[in-house]
């Protein structure tokens, strides 16, 4: 038998053994298919930053035709669900309890001041605890005010009292649907988990049970063991990935502007990194308990918080920005959101893919070296 034929046979045997193990403990299959589907369903529907129908308390001290004209701008808007309140006491209580996000207060002199040289002040109080939400609400209120000013000027046949007006165009996501970037980001987080969960335990389990030593006394080389571990989990992982992409596209309606094959190719590289990270954790820890702990610490939260899927990386201090480079999710989030929303933009895809290739080589190389060292 030629050396090459022997290697192919050994590899087939290893892959077969790994597949049998996967089939016997169904948790691997659950990780590859049930986990992505369940989590993506839950988060795809659950996560949204699109704020509409903000509950707002409207307090009018002295109702008149002018105040009614002003407050009418809230009634038709999909951004607000206004709630009339009798006085500031009631409104304050509602704000403290969290049943409204803001108070709009028209004081008794609104009508008189509106016609005077000074203009009327509309008092707005927002609950600043959720600062992002508060800012959005503030922006919506500003928008409502300018709409009202324009309408009013038009009704009186005056020039609009606005020297400079902003016209903005949003590229790649014109409707500003937050789901369009959250869902691709979630796919990355979920793939990170799947990859690490699939492999974090496998090497450690073999060491713990002593079957690794048994494998090492056979003619199988360390590299072959690695490939034997990688192939079955890679196939499972790709299956989960395809399911996630299909759900993002058809269930959540995220447009896929770029090419599917480029997405497929980059996903494969990312999956290699995720699996490689799991294998590395597993072979460094050598005990399932420690491997599990490391996987819990290093996968989910960094992929969620440091990948740019939700918090902008360019905005972080330099030290933290440098740390984000250690996590593969960062590169893949950039690739995935670009491919989904903007198209095949090489200036984004190429450097990030190269970074992923480098990480895959490092993780798999280190795992291979550790397995080989143990041989001696």
């Amino acid at each position: 038998m030629s050396a090459r034929g022997g290697r192919a046979m050994r590899l087939r045997g290893l892959v077969r053994k790994e597949f049998l193990q996967i089939l016997r403990d169904p948790s691997s299959i659950a990780i590859a298919f049930v986990l992505p589907v369940a989590l993506l369903l839950l988060f795809g529907y659950g996560l949204s930053l699109d704020v509409d129908h903000v509950p707002v308390a409207v307090v009018v001290d002295r109702p008149s035709a002018d105040t009614a004209d002003f407050t009418a701008t809230f009634d038709g808007s999909r951004y607000f669900s206004p709630r009339r309140m009798a006085d500031m006491g009631e409104a304050t209580e509602a704000l403290l309890e969290g049943s409204v996000d803001a108070i709009v207060h028209l004081r008794a002199d609104f009508a008189a001041r509106e016609r005077s040289r000074t203009g009327a002040a509309v008092q707005v109080i927002v609950n600043g605890v959720d600062a992002n939400n508060a800012r959005l609400v503030q922006g919506y209120l500003d928008g409502a005010l300018s709409t009202w000013l324009l309408q009013r000027a038009a009704a009186q046949g005056l020039d609009p009292p606005i020297p400079v007006r902003i016209e903005h165009r949003v590229w790649y996501n014109p409707d500003l649907r937050s789901r369009n970037f959250l869902v691709p980001g979630l796919v990355v987080v979920i793939m990170t988990l799947t990859g690490a969960l699939l492999t974090a335990m496998v090497m450690a389990r073999e060491w713990e049970r002593g079957t690794m030593e048994a494998l090492l006394v056979t003619p199988v080389a360390a590299g072959e063991i690695l490939v034997g571990k990688l192939v079955p989990y890679f196939i499972l992982g790709i299956g989960g990935m395809l399911l996630s992409v299909a759900m993002a596209r058809w269930l959540f309606g995220v447009p896929l502007v770029g090419s599917f094959w480029l997405l497929f190719a980059t996903s494969s590289v990312f999956l290699l990194v995720a699996l490689g990270m799991g294998l590395l954790i597993s072979s460094v820890a050598r005990s399932q308990y420690v491997a599990g702990q490391v996987a819990l610490i290093t996968t989910f939260l960094p992929a969620f918080l440091l990948s740019g899927m939700i918090f902008e990386i360019g905005n972080m201090p330099a030290v933290v920005r440098a740390i984000t480079h250690l996590f593969a999710a960062r590169y893949f989030v950039s690739i995935v959101t670009t491919l989904f929303l903007a198209g095949d933009i090489w200036s984004v895809v190429v450097p990030n893919t190269l970074a992923l290739v480098l990480m895959a080589v490092i993780f798999l190389g280190l795992t291979w070296r550790r397995a080989r060292k143990r041989l001696e």
């Binding site: 988060f43 529907y45 949204s48 605890v129 590229w171």
Partner: protein, 369 residues
């Protein structure tokens, strides 16, 4: 009985802390993560990279440019001279924003017409895009006020005066850091409890424990207490870092903080032990820990409001202990509310804790292999 619990607890502490790597894993990463995530988790933008495309070049447009540059929110990356330079810059994410001032700008403004300022924004992260546009809007609105005042134009008949309670400068870090205290405490309890019983099951020592005269309740207490003790200690350190290093205000009482923490630990230790007791292998235990922790964090209201979730998902958040703890932390730190207002957050955590701990104890025997 107490003696037996104490003995078992001692054994559990040894099991947790005897492995040097495990010991380091329990203490160092959560602290590092707080520091790193504390800086990473904010929606406030600073130094937004932008390109300016000024076709007007008159004094008025330069004045507006200067105000944008001086605002501190933006960083001018490049000046461009033609519109076909825009796409490559935005595509490659070199800039988030392109500010375009048309050739008519100064003339329109000077002649009393409304001048327009065009923005092109990278919408790949729509939240960031909205925030950046909001910043420009703020600057332009100040510019408009100054302009109107300087030229004796009648002021707008109405203007908005906003005050933000509890967080006057609307710093979103104040919102995220109390949340991080909750998330990292959950991580620590999962590290401590998620795999313990599964490991003993795999090694066969759990069966030995069950044939001793110990009752399930005692085994439970022995397994749960290290989670409590270490969770209390680490949460204290983490909260102190949040207050002393990140300068998050802590307006509430320390007693209420510990009451909330105790109930949260009870519920999260309970969930962790329940998962661990349900798992036959450590692989399953790890899967269970992730299947609980990931949704618990993502649906807790940490990064996106629970109010935005559809009804079905919102119902599910009611069994998420982190959901309640985050409300407790935020209201306590930023608003300083007393325990009496937090009752609706405190009792669900107690209930989740009681149910999950009982289920864990029951599973000890029910899932024997």
């Amino acid at each position: 009985m107490l003696g037996r619990i104490l003995t078992l607890m001692k054994k559990e502490f040894l099991a947790v802390l005897k492995d040097a790597r495990s010991r380091v894993l329990l203490v160092v990463p959560p602290m590092i993560q707080l520091l790193v995530f504390g800086y990473a988790a904010t929606y406030d933008l600073r130094q937004v990279p932008y390109a300016i495309y000024n076709e007007d070049r008159g004094a008025l447009s330069r004045e507006l440019e200067a105000q944008i540059r001086g605002s501190g929110y933006f960083r001018e990356k490049v000046r461009i001279a033609s519109s076909d330079q825009i796409a490559p810059l935005v595509d490659a994410r070199d800039v988030l924003l392109v500010i375009h001032i048309g050739p008519q700008f100064g003339r329109d403004l000077a002649s009393g017409k409304t001048a327009s300022l065009q923005l092109i924004v990278d919408g790949r992260n729509s939240n960031t895009a909205l925030i950046a546009v909001g910043y420009v809007r703020q600057i332009v609105s100040r510019f408009n006020d100054d302009w109107s005042r300087a030229h004796g134009l009648p002021p707008a008949p109405a203007r908005i005066e906003t005050r933000a309670w509890f967080n006057p400068n609307l710093e979103s870090r104040w919102f995220f850091l109390p949340g991080l205290i909750g998330i990292l405490t959950l991580l620590i309890t999962m590290l401590l409890t998620g795999l313990t019983i599964a490991r003993e099951r795999e090694q066969g020592t759990f069966d030995q424990l069950l044939v001793t005269p110990m009752r399930p309740f005692e085994v439970l207490a022995g397994k749960a207490l290290p989670g409590f003790v270490i969770g209390f200690a680490e949460a204290t350190v983490i909260a102190s870092i949040a207050v002393l290093w990140f300068r998050i205000p802590m307006l509430g009482s320390i007693g209420t903080f510990y009451l909330g923490l105790g109930l949260f630990l009870m519920s999260s230790v309970g969930m962790g032990l329940m998962i661990s007791a349900l798992a036959a292998t450590q692989q399953q235990g790890l899967l269970g820990a992730f299947l609980f922790m990931v949704p618990a964090v993502i649906l807790s209201g940490f990064a996106t409001p629970i109010a935005n979730m559809p009804e079905a998902v919102r119902l599910l958040t009611y069994i998420d202990p982190l959901r309640y703890f985050l409300v407790v932390l935020r209201k306590l730190f930023l608003e300083g509310v007393p325990a009496s207002i937090l009752v609706h957050e405190l009792w669900p955590m107690a209930l989740i804790g009681a149910v999950s701990l009982s289920l864990a104890a029951w599973l000890f025997r029910a899932r024997m292999y």
